[in-house]
Amino acid sequence: MNALIVIACLGIAAMMSEVLGFKKLLLPLVAIGLISVVGLFVMDWNTSIRYYHDMLYFDNYAIAFSAMVTVLTALWLIMSKEYFISTTSKAEHAALILFCLTGAIVMISYSDLSMLFIGIEILSISLYVLAASNKHDLRSNEAGLKYFLMGAFATGFLLFGITLIYGASGSFNLQEIANYLSKNSEHLPMFVYAGVLLMLVGLLFKVSAAPFHFWAPDVYEGSPTLVTAFMSTIVKTAAFAAFYRLFATCFSDLSGWWGETLAIVAALTMLVGNVLAVMQQNFKRMLAYSSIAHAGYMLMAIVAMNHISAGAIFLYTSAYSIASLGAFACLHALGANDNEKIINLRGFIAKQPFNAGLLCLAMLSLAGIPPLAGFFAKYYLFYGVIQSGYLWLVLVAVLSSLIGVYYYFRVIYTMFLPREEEDGVLPKISGGHKILLTIVAILSLLMGIFPGILQGIL
């Protein structure tokens, strides 16, 4: 809880920095702040305290995910140094990112549907602005607007759903809703099901699951690369944490009813994401589709909903986010929009073997090749789903992973090709990028060698 306050205050401080004139100190301040926040989370471990009349509940699940998104933000910050130097409104950017993080932590640790809504809105509204933050780029503006319109549409569904559930149970509190549902499981009114369905739609939109994913490629491609990286890692992790928390606490009794449907959505999402990623020539757009595909895998944990799925989704989101940050770091280093083609990576391995090797590791982890983190993340996920009896879903997941291997390996394969005349510039890996890539590689390897540590704590 203290951590949440610290982050919110950091955000306000960042906003004030422009006026009060300590802009130069901003980055170190944020960095130190995030590190101390992680420390605060670690201290809260195993305390499980409910705050504000059970509005927020920091159990181990919430603490683990909150700490993870904070760590991811810190990692993201390493590559984003220039974002806070070269652009004109860096104080606002920093503040928005910190508000995003605040929203993320609220939606991870909520114990009340109103807090879920507030968290999602704090996160989303900051993101709408961030997506459009490249003022002079038409596509960035388009991305911001699209995201806002579609997001508003989806939020509507979420709110309708919350209202209907409230109408039946008379409460926003997760625990009370769960009690109501289990007590009256025999004769639930029809509109409870409608409420669950509408909330499901709202959340599926947020995690960009098919067929509610249409916004994602356009927004991801149009937004500044750093914002895209933030969206597809930290935001996605938080959205899944919220999604899983809601369905695990409230609606797990109804899983017989929504399980099969969600399984179909998961299968559809990973197929659509992977199949569409195959044809993409643009690295950024490919990563956008790959991010959709990974959302499909993460949905599997919610489908499985058994004793290992919380740990599995935690490991998976961590492994995916960390590897993605590595990929985005390289993408960011590629530079301007017209240089984001995969083909421009030709000759990368010959010119910069170390950096290229690190990118290789990130790609291998995303593809799920042992001994990297991505493999064991998939392993635990699939194992949990098999235990819950959805064998066909695992088969689809394995098949679509094969498709995934194709386009991840195409990146690696391209790096080995000789350079040609018409090729654009190679990524200019700065010190920050190199540090981030190295950390990504080390973490991916460590999590691959000791997968049980992250999986086992939940």
Partner: protein
């Protein structure tokens, strides 16, 4: 001290790592010194452990290193077993291994890639030690595969020559066939006894009846593994080709240690073999046929190393005969003695080749007695030892095998006796042609002739000494002296076979074989030195059976026609028809389909919010429909 047995394989492993990593930065003397030192340290530890084991009443000790494989019910620890059998092997491997390492320093001094050589050699020692130290079949198998790998790497050490690479591949593939048998045997052991640890397997096996079908199958499969590693018919053809490797390698791996791994394995599993008389009979028959078969081929070979290679195959056959009749301690006795004299012979041959600037054909040697005095004397000792002349090592061990076999089956005894006559013939043919008569090489070779440096001659002298006195460790019963070797091993052998001859028969066997060998020495001397008969330099002049022998019974050609050609045909058929025609089409086809779907689906992503919202609405309707179904 026994608890420190893990030091024994550790030293060579460290040696391998140090030499392998520093590689070209090391001068030849240093990489050789590190390699030799590491093996010497292992030898010292082995001697200390031997002294402890040697005490009366010492029990086998198991040393658990770590939990290795732990999956479900399967629990395989990485543990070592120190008992009287493994300690003898340890002494042979590290002792003879050390001498050969020292010898290699001299032999390889002009070699550019010496560090690679010594690192492989150390790695080999490590795996060989693992093989004999393991307390279960899986650790043994790890070592077994490791020595196979090192053998491959060292046969193909001069990888620039295609021929040598082919020899290496041949050795590897032949061994793989055997390994498959071994592996299946281990699987069957696990399913039959529920464990792979020696102790548990053997204790459980003792409750089985004689001739149990499962045990017979296990022992036969294990024997297939032994056939590969120890070069028995039909998997022996790799060993003569393996002579492509540097000569110290032939001495260490392909004579003294690795090829006896199969024998070690059978002795280790003697409980099982004792319970499977049918398998034992097959072991004896295969050994017998191999012994006589290889010896006949040895008669007509002209390459000094090839003769020794066929002799090794033949001697290994002897050991298997001993195993087959149940004389396990005798087989191990012969393993040790053979390690002494065969390593000596190979190193002697290496010294000759060194002096002859790489020439290996005995038709171009002759008269080397004067120029290479030390090599000559030590080689003579080795020859006398292998031919079985009193009091050299081979006399005792071979005579023991002969008398045990005589007690088992007189017919087998006759065949084996005939084989030992052949052995004496081809060995003395080799000896006379190399060291007597006049020099037949080129003028350049003649001026270059020189005795090898002391790093090479010292190991020769020590091995010659061992080949001279080693035999007294196992005195025949007629002399009424305790058979040290057999007594030392008695606790290892499950059920000792009753194979004692009456004293008169034993003396007759001894006297007979000794007389025969002496006669052969005189005859071969007359033939090759007095009459100076030379082997034909032109292959075309050979007639009849001689030609068949010279071509090694055309076995390689037969294998090529019967096995390699059909497999090649199958492979090219599978490649052209199945791989290119079917599999590639399926794979590429699914790729095309995927690309097609992908490029079609792209059109859904129009960029217009109207379409997207429409898509979402369709999605919601679908969700409702799906949930309604339930």
């Amino acid at each position: 001290m026994i608890q420190l047995a893990w030091l024994i394989p550790l030293f060579p492993l460290l040696g391998f790592l140090v030499i392998g990593m520093l590689n070209k930065r090391l001068p030849v003397s240093l990489s050789g010194a590190i390699a030799s030192l590491s093996v010497f340290l292992s030898f010292v530890v082995s001697v200390i452990i031997f002294n402890e084991i040697h005490q009366v009443g010492s029990v086998p000790e198991r040393i658990l290193m770590f939990d290795w494989i732990n999956v479900g019910d399967l629990n395989i620890p990485f543990s070592f077993l120190i008992d009287r059998l493994s300690v003898i092997m340890l002494l042979v491997i590290t002792g003879v291994g050390f001498l050969i390492h020292v010898y290699s320093i001299g032999y390889m001094q002009h070699e550019q890639d010496h560090s690679r050589f010594f690192s492989y050699l150390n790695l080999f020692i490590f795996f060989m030690l693992l093989l004999v130290l393991g307390a279960n079949y899986i650790v043994m198998f790890a070592g077994w595969e490791g020595v196979g790998l090192c053998s491959y790497l060292l046969i193909g050490f001069w990888f620039k020559y295609t021929e040598y690479n082919n020899a290496a591949k041949k050795a590897f593939i032949m061994n793989r066939i055997g390994d498959l048998g071994f592996l299946l045997g281990i699987f069957l052991i696990y399913t039959t006894f529920g464990s792979v640890s020696y102790q548990e397997v053997f204790n459980a096996a003792k409750g089985f009846p004689d001739g149990d079908a499962a045990i017979t199958a296990i022992t036969l499969l294990l024997f297939v593994g032994a056939m590969g590693k120890s070069a028995q018919i039909p998997l022996y053809t790799w060993l003569p080709d393996a002579m492509a490797g540097p000569t110290p390698v032939s001495a260490l791996i392909h004579a003294a240690t690795m090829v006896t791994a199969g024998i070690y394995m059978v002795i280790r599993s003697n409980v099982l073999y004792t319970l499977a008389p049918y398998s034992s009979e097959i072991v004896a028959i295969v050994g017998l046929v191999t012994a006589v078969f290889a010896a006949t081929i040895g008669l007509k070979q002209n390459d000094i190393k090839k003769v020794l290679a066929y002799s090794t195959v033949s001697q290994l056959g002897y050991m298997f005969v001993a195993l087959g009749v149940g004389a396990y301690d005798t087989a191990l006795f012969h393993v040790v003695m053979h390690a002494f004299f065969k390593a000596l012979l190979f190193l002697g041959a290496g010294s000759v080749i060194h002096a002859m600037s790489g020439e290996q054909d005995i038709r171009y040697m002759g008269g080397l007695k004067k120029k290479l005095p030390i090599t000559h004397i030590t080689f003579l000792i080795g020859t006398l030892a292998i031919a079985g002349v009193f009091p050299f090592a081979g006399f005792f061990s071979k005579d023991e095998i002969l008398s045990k076999v005589y007690a088992f089956s007189p017919f087998m005894f006759v065949v084996l006796m005939f084989t030992s006559a052949l052995t004496a013939i081809y060995m003395f043919r080799l000896y006379w042609l190399t060291f007597y008569g006049s020099f037949r090489g080129t003028e350049q070779q003649r001026t270059h002739l020189h005795e090898s440096p002391s790093s090479m001659t010292m190991p020769l002298i020590i091995l010659a000494l061992l080949s001279t006195i080693g035999g007294f460790l196992g005195m025949p019963e007629v002399f009424h002296v305790p058979h040290y070797f057999s007594e030392f091993l008695s606790s290892i052998i499950y059920r000792k076979a009753e194979l004692t001859l009456p004293e008169s028969s034993e003396l007759m066997v001894m006297g007979g074989s000794l007389t025969m060998v002496v006669l052969i020495i005189i005859m071969t001397y007359n033939h090759y030195v007095k009459k100076a008969v030379m082997p034909e330099t032109n292959e075309g002049e050979l007639r009849g059976f001689q030609k068949v022998l010279s071509h090694k019974y055309y076995i390689d050609e037969i294998y090529s026609a019967l096995i390699t050609k059909p497999i090649d045909w199958l492979a090219s058929f599978s490649y052209k028809r199945i791989e290119l025609g079917v599999i590639d089409r399926i794979v590429n086809g699914s790729g095309y389909i995927l690309n097609g779907i992908s490029s079609l689906l792209r059109y859904v992503q129009t960029g217009s919010i109207g379409t997207y919202v429409f898509g979402m609405v369709i999605g919601i309707i679908l969700l409702v429909a799906l949930t309604m179904i339930h």
